[in-house]
Symmetry: C2
Subunit: 197 residues, 2 copies
């Protein structure tokens, strides 16, 4: 991970704003330059290529994601609580920075650039590993329902993803945090062990 200059930060933020407003297709060197307020060529004083800008954005996503994973892993709370933390933290992050939600759904968009695609996939793999581990831990303690952990993962993560997608498609028309909190109550209800306690 490299240090980043002020100008690079500006460029990345401009790129994020464009993706957030008009989608990844609208992200061109020209549109970035226009947003920052200088010519297209000037962008190349700070980044070697467009791919490097995208790579920096994904790194942002990955770094934040790694922080979350460490945080939850080190937490001494129960497994269901860990799941809740993950679920709601994702909502919080996407709420605060909408473009990260775009990156989350970018598996297909980066498929022309295998390097970027691999980077995104790696982040998602990290989520998967952590959640599966947590789910299995909860199942050992009989707090989480005894269904295939893979299935529970698909249900939890699938619900989260669809919620975020609905939020994006609807033009961010509802409060994602509140929506996430309410949805989590239902998700928790169905994944916790009904025979427990």
């Amino acid at each position: 991970m490299k240090k980043i200059t002020g100008r690079q930060q500006e460029i990345v933020e401009a790129a994020l704003a464009i993706i957030s407003d008009r989608g990844l297709e609208a992200l061109t060197i020209k549109s970035i330059a226009a947003r920052v307020g200088f010519s297209d060529a000037a962008v190349y004083r700070h980044f070697r290529s467009k791919a490097q800008i995208l790579s920096t954005i994904i790194d942002l996503f990955a770094r934040d994601s790694a922080r979350l994973l460490r945080e939850i892993h080190g937490c001494s709370c129960a497994e269901l609580e860990k799941m809740r933390l993950f679920f709601l933290d994702r909502c919080r992050v996407f709420s605060a920075d909408r473009v990260l939600a775009t990156v989350m759904f970018a598996e297909n968009l980066f498929q022309n650039d295998p390097l970027l695609a691999a980077k995104v996939r790696q982040v998602l793999q990290g989520h998967r590993r952590l959640l599966l581990e947590t789910l299995r831990g909860g199942q050992r303690k009989k707090t989480i329902r005894a269904l295939p952990a893979e299935h529970l993962f698909t249900m939890v993560m699938g619900s989260l993803r669809l919620l975020v997608l609905q939020w994006r498609i609807g033009g961010y028309g509802f409060d994602l945090m509140r929506g996430g909190e309410k949805l989590w109550l239902s998700v928790e209800t169905v994944i916790k062990n009904p025979n427990g306690e």
Copy 2:
């Protein structure tokens, strides 16, 4: 809905194959023409624009989807069974025609063309309406868990979507039908009323 000539059918199939193999970004008039076996200009003998080709593809998806919705709506079986039919039918359709799975995840890809985006959204709305209706019917009969129907929808549809996504990302490395059947068992377990029967 228009009638379609043989050549048009060929072109649409070529387009579907390209999307399926190399993604929507690789879908150009040139690539379509190459696949059919003639020059790019010849495509315009059969379609007025690229958008019209895409529109035809979405129509295909919509027509198939409408058939499914009618079929399930007219079915006299229980609500949980209807949900199962929907879930597995989607798996079956995507298994048979992978590109339809691509279209299912194309909400963000068509966002630059509002007409196509609206068309896709309409199909998804249809799914949503049918499933919510079915879920609420099951809740009235106490066969489906008394949680907000919207949440149940998000969980079921989210699980289905993530399953299909995993299938696509993994290079179609597992049998989607079998995966869907197994996942459905878990989904059904968590959404059916535990106090019922």
